[in-house]
């Protein structure tokens, strides 16, 4: 199983590619709404991408209040 750091890194790579942002501009503690300049619907798009990549299900209602890449990674990690 990957470590939390590895999962976080995967998320950052995926987000950077999908939203066309330079990977080095993203850090684990960043707020993904702000850094990726996305709204809540685009955040759902990101969740779908991550679900497909990690093969986990991330219920919308459990993602309430999750805004940082690190917190996102923790939620995914707990389901791997």
């Amino acid at each position: 199983m990957p470590t939390l750091d590895q999962t976080t890194d995967e998320i950052l790579k995926l987000a950077a590619t999908h939203f066309k942002v330079a990977r080095e501009k993203l850090a684990p503690g960043d707020d993904f709404f702000e850094k990726l300049k996305i709204d809540s619907l685009q955040a759902l798009e990101l969740l779908t991408r991550l679900e497909n990549h990690f093969r986990v299900e991330l219920p919308d209602y459990e993602m309430q209040g999750v805004t940082s890449f690190r917190a996102l990674a923790e939620r995914i990690q707990s389901r791997l």
Partner: protein, 570 residues
């Protein structure tokens, strides 16, 4: 539908609905492509009454308050009915607020009972203010068997045998306390009576009726005034069904239309625009000859439905578009914020009427609604039956503050007579919105008189509510405003929050301050963030008790600056 004129309370009307249509489906809960449950009115009653009895056994009495903090799901409505059955007052709270905000509003409402989901409860328990929580009974749903409930009880197990006593309430008694804002400093808890809801329901269903077999797709939060009315009270008092979707992913929302043969759905402008974008993309991908045909059919539909919608014609002409929406769609309701006329026109031309309207929680949801007679996308429609709307102190162009009088207007703000007196003057609710009524009786909006913004997602944001996160900022003083309030724009578009900064003497706006502002901003949800700043070179006017005189400061800024040059992006 039930004759709601005959009823004294929501509880009594809903109780009769459960008896009247026992075998009709009232509620479907779906999660992605799975169906979690499908309940008839009889099933619903079988689940709600043991909960009501357990609440009564736990000491929940007439007039006690119970808060619900849940995403859209069947247990929301079952709990709400159980609370009304017991004569309780419902406090529906927005699940998207932070745990700290939940605790503030729970304390303000003095709720005795809290019904919530386990993941939300975990956040509340972890919040520093948890130790002061005064709620006596907490029910949590969907907690795993090994979960630490921190004193809460499992909703699924909280039931008792025996018929619960139905506790009647009168029309003027409070039914719900709905917070329209005020998580920062001064909570605005709108006390809405049973009469407010019954009258609103009569009014809305006279224009957009429900009946057994009709299905409403619920994706707006149920705590939101619109969904509470058209995604619960309206369909239930007509024997219709509500479909809860526990995800907002566009692909599943799209699938739900044909799967559940949806007739109505409410949404906010942001989601509607997204839907428009999705359809636009699909149309653009069509081969040239099919695109040519589609354009001709849309033009023909537009010509045939110019005066009023003709669903049968539109469904026949634009069959594929309508099939994608399940073929049963009658109308979409959009509210909570301003919707661009072009977006409304786009859907209308496809034969999908989007009923836009204007409303506010204080007025008991909707005040005006487009009745498509004829379609007027440049307005927010005409006053609903039973609503009196007038323009206070109109200018030469007829623009002034929109004032509303009706049986749907709230009773008062909870524990705040001063704010109530400002809002309701001689029986008229002063909305703070600027509008004009045209010769055909349609209301047009022209911005706001009050210092607030409404996001495309339908959220009301009051600057005072978010200032606490900027406390301790290394400046002499600061104040947050809605840009359109500082520089009136005769528009409800381009709304944003700006922070006015008075720097310490000799200081400049440098990168360190920019970073500090950005860091503070990040603590707020994205829709509440400040988007620009204004450097102000004078001390703020203050009262004797050193409170900022916001109105005076706004006047000073307005008199000596222009938005285009004064505001720098953050």
């Amino acid at each position: 539908m039930l004759d709601l004129h005959q009823y004294e309370s929501l509880g009594a009307a809903l109780r009769d609905a459960l008896e009247r249509w026992p075998d009709e489906v009232c509620l479907i809960e779906a999660d992605r492509d799975r169906e979690n449950c499908r309940l008839t009115y009889s099933d619903f009653k079988q689940m709600a009454l043991p909960l009501a009895r357990a609440l009564q056994d736990s000491g929940f009495r007439e007039g006690d308050r119970a808060a619900i903090i849940m995403t859209n799901q069947s247990k929301w409505l079952i709990s709400a009915y159980a609370i009304f059955h017991c004569g309780g007052e419902l406090v529906p709270l927005d699940y998207k607020l932070t745990a700290r905000e939940h605790l503030q509003l729970l304390a303000h409402s003095k709720a005795n009972v809290l019904v919530t989901e386990h993941h939300l409860w975990r956040a509340i328990v972890a919040s520093p203010g948890f130790k002061d929580l005064g709620v006596q009974t907490v029910l949590v749903t969907e907690a795993s068997t090994s979960a630490d409930l921190a004193g809460a009880k499992r909703w699924e197990e909280f039931k008792a045998e025996g018929e619960p006593r139905f506790v009647p309430r009168r029309r003027q008694d409070p039914a719900c306390i709905v917070y329209s804002s005020g998580t920062g400093g001064r909570p605005k808890g709108c006390v809405l009576t049973h009469e407010n809801y019954l009258e609103q329901c009569i009014s809305l269903t006279s224009l957009y009726p429900f009946w057994p077999g009709v299905r409403y797709l619920s994706i707006l939060p149920t705590n939101h005034a619109i969904d509470f009315m058209v995604g619960f009270i309206g369909p239930f008092t007509c024997g219709a069904a509500v479909v809860h979707l526990r995800t907002l992913r566009p692909e599943y929302v799209r699938d739900a239309f044909p799967r559940y043969k949806i007739a109505y759905m409410s949404l906010v402008p942001m989601v509607l625009k997204n839907l428009e974008k999705g359809l636009g993309t699909r149309f653009a991908e069509l081969p040239a000859h099919r695109r040519w045909l589609l354009d001709r059919l849309i033009a023909l539909n537009k010509r045939l439905t110019g005066k009023r919608p003709k669903l049968k014609i539109s469904r026949a002409l634009l069959k594929q578009v309508h099939q994608a929406f399940g073929g049963e769609l009658r109308a979409l309701f959009v509210g909570g914020a301003f919707t661009e006329p072009a977006t409304l026109q786009f859907f209308y031309d496809l034969g999908i009427p989007v009923a836009n309207g204007y409303g506010l929680t204080e007025a008991g949801t909707a005040v005006t609604l487009n009745d498509f007679n004829p379609f007027r996308p440049d307005t927010v429609g005409r006053p609903l039956p039973g609503m009196e709307v007038r323009i206070a102190d109109p200018s030469d162009e007829g623009i002034g503050e929109v004032a509303v009088r009706s049986k749907t207007v709230m009773s008062h703000y909870l524990d705040d007579p001063e704010m109530t007196a400002e809002a309701i003057v001689d029986g008229w609710l002063m909305t703070g919105d600027l509008g004009r009524i045209d010769p055909t009786g349609h209301l047009q909006l022209f911005g706001r008189k009050k210092n607030m913004i409404v996001t495309e997602g339908g959220k009301n944001i009051y600057p005072e509510d978010i200032e606490t996160v900027f406390e301790g900022l290394p400046v002499k003083e600061f104040c947050v405003f809605a840009a359109n309030y500082l520089w009136p724009a005769s528009s409800v578009t381009g709304e944003m929050l700006v922070i006015v900064l008075r720097l310490e003497p000799g200081h400049e706006f440098d990168d360190a301050l920019r970073c500090e502002l950005a860091e503070r901003n990040r603590r707020l949800p994205d829709f509440k963030r400040v988007r620009g700043y204004v450097i102000w070179d004078r001390d703020f006017p203050r009262t004797a008790s050193l409170k900022i005189k916001r109105i005076e400061l706004a006047e000073q800024i307005r008199a000596s600056t222009e938005r285009a040059t004064a505001v720098a992006a953050l």
